[in-house]
């Protein structure tokens, strides 16, 4: 039926449905979002308000700080665990790796519930501290809970990236350093960590962008946590302030996209996919 069709027109035909779907359900809606963001009482100034309005700016700074703290803590934790797991073979190692990567597919809402079970009003940590110091520690419904939640979903992703990067390290460099008299700490500082830099940048950027935009965890823990996705949610559903919600969404999308683009220009093509 397509016997006479040239390769050129066949390739165009292959691309057409994809191009139509992406235009209809992504590009046009995004253009609409940007337009609606400038359609409020203040017009295009709504975008400037993200930085100029004290409340929005405070929330933005909060969100960036939380995402940065999550990224830093995750990188440290995942590097220690990832280096260890990739460098040692011991019974039960495969099970341990499987356990560490098991939460990879948990949606944010489930992660929020995990944090409630761990540090909520009837949580494990509260039970333990009640017995130890006679006081119930409850962290779940605040920014600390959100930090724990973001750690929970970024650790598995980052560990996988770091383990893959450690596997590709050239062992002869470390042997050379050791032969020259470098101790284990010096080898770690001067050989291993610098070689892992692209993996740090790639997985760190993904962790940062994901933490900036994550909504489900905050939604489960509490609606009054002061981060950007929750602000968008309250502006849209509770205040019916559609223009502001749209402007904030565009701002949030730009920040997340810029972080990933920046990391990719520094670390190469390994950076993608904030799940």
């Amino acid at each position: 039926m397509t016997g006479t069709m040239t390769l050129r027109s066949f390739l165009a035909l292959c691309l057409l449905p994809l191009a139509l779907a992406v235009t209809a359900f992504f590009l046009l809606p995004m253009a609409k979002l940007i337009a609606v963001g400038a359609s409020g009482k203040t017009g295009i100034a709504a975008y400037a308000a993200i930085l100029l309005d004290a409340r929005y700016r405070g929330t933005l700074i909060n969100t960036v700080l939380l995402a940065a703290a999550t990224t830093a803590a995750t990188l440290v934790i995942a590097t220690v665990a990832g280096l260890f797991l990739q460098r040692h073979r011991f019974p039960g190692r495969a099970v341990l790796v499987a356990l560490l990567t098991f939460p990879l597919a948990f949606p944010g809402v489930v992660v929020g519930f995990m944090i409630i079970l761990l540090a909520g009003r009837q949580g494990l940590i509260g039970e333990i501290t009640l017995r130890l110091i006679g006081e119930k520690e409850v962290w779940a419904y605040s920014i600390q809970g959100l930090f724990l939640g973001y750690l929970y979903f970024s650790i598995p992703r980052v560990i996988l990236t770091i383990m893959a990067a450690v596997e590709k390290l050239d062992p002869s460099l470390e042997e050379a350093a050791r032969a020259l008299g470098a101790g284990p700490l010096a080898v770690l500082r001067d050989v291993i960590l610098p070689a892992l830099r692209p993996a740090f940048i790639a997985s760190g950027a993904i962790a940062f962008a994901t933490a900036m935009g994550a909504f489900g965890t905050a939604f489960t823990l509490a609606t009054n946590i002061d981060v950007l996705p929750m602000l968008i949610y309250t502006e849209f559903t509770l205040s019916a302030n559609v223009a502001t919600a749209a402007a904030l969404s565009v701002g949030l999308g730009l920040v997340a996209w810029a972080i990933l683009a920046l990391a990719r220009s520094v670390a190469g093509n390994a950076v993608a996919a904030a799940g």
């Binding site: 069709m5 359900f25 809606p29 260890f84 519930f113 749209a246 949030l252």
Partner: protein
């Protein structure tokens, strides 16, 4: 170097890694236990029961079935759009193809909430569409397409599909027959890896779905958020347990599959 010190470093690292694993696994274990315990606050000694799971089925069966339907439809759509699209983008190459690939991948970098709000602002006025599950499907397809396209392109790059294609062309096969008989069979590892990703992501998707769903088109994760806010802990846990049971086989399949060969790994 003293073996004694090596031993201590090993034990310290092992303890740390076990602690991290406990942080991730203990809450999941608590949740699974709570879902089959008569009374969580009195502990397992209050007895085990499937009562909560049955209650979840009575309350939320529609969300579970809808999530499966949406995940499978999303898979169908990403296969139909993504596999020919990836082929076209890879064989054409050049700057235009790279730009198009960038645009397709953008939804990975943009928070789900923003994508959902954009869809709502653009199509919220078409009330039949907005009220149906197809509205959620549109969001899921946009969100998961990049995984399918990248996964398939990664395999094309690994197996040198251009040479295969030219070989088949020199034998006189038409573009369509080459696509059906040579390209698709050779792209199977990428298609499989991409499919597993798409189904897993769609089943667990919340950030996009939440704003697109209505009380009549709730998916499983939206129902979960609902139960966390309003149901007793045992019911919420039993519901989470149902989600685990659905998602674990997919995760295992992905791990097994990733072990088959580096070329088959999803490009993430």
């Amino acid at each position: 170097m003293s073996p004694m010190r090596d031993r201590l470093i090993f034990i310290a690292q092992l303890a740390f890694t076990l602690l991290v694993a406990a942080f991730l696994i203990v809450p999941a274990a608590l949740s699974i236990t709570a879902g089959v315990t008569v009374n969580y606050f009195r502990g397992v000694q209050s007895g085990l029961t499937l009562e909560w799971v049955v209650q979840v089925w009575e309350l939320y069966a529609d969300t579970i079935l809808r999530s499966f339907a949406i995940a499978l439809s999303t898979l169908g759509a990403t296969l139909a759009l993504g596999v020919p699209g990836a082929y076209s983008l890879y064989v054409r190459g050049g700057r235009l193809a790279r730009t198009i690939e960038e645009i397709i991948t953008l939804p990975l970098a943009i928070p789900g909430l923003a994508i959902a709000l954009a869809l709502l602002l653009a199509y919220g006025g078409f009330s039949d569409f907005r009220r149906s599950w197809l509205f959620i499907l549109a969001g899921h397809v946009i969100f998961t397409l990049p995984f399918m396209v990248r996964s398939v392109i990664a395999v094309f790059a690994a197996i040198d599909v251009k040479t295969l294609d030219e070989g088949a062309a020199s034998l006189g096969a038409s573009p369509w027959r080459r696509f059906r008989d040579v390209i698709v069979p050779n792209a199977r590892p990428g298609i499989l890896a991409g499919s597993l990703m798409v189904v897993t992501l769609s089943l667990g998707e919340f950030n996009v779905t939440w704003m697109l769903s209505t009380p009549l088109t709730k998916t499983l994760p939206v129902g979960l958020a609902d139960s966390y806010a309003s149901m007793r802990l045992e019911v919420a846990s039993a519901y989470t347990l149902v989600f685990f049971v659905m998602i674990i086989p997919l995760l295992v399949a992905m791990q097994v599959f990733a072990g088959w060969g580096a070329t088959a790994r999803p490009a993430r």
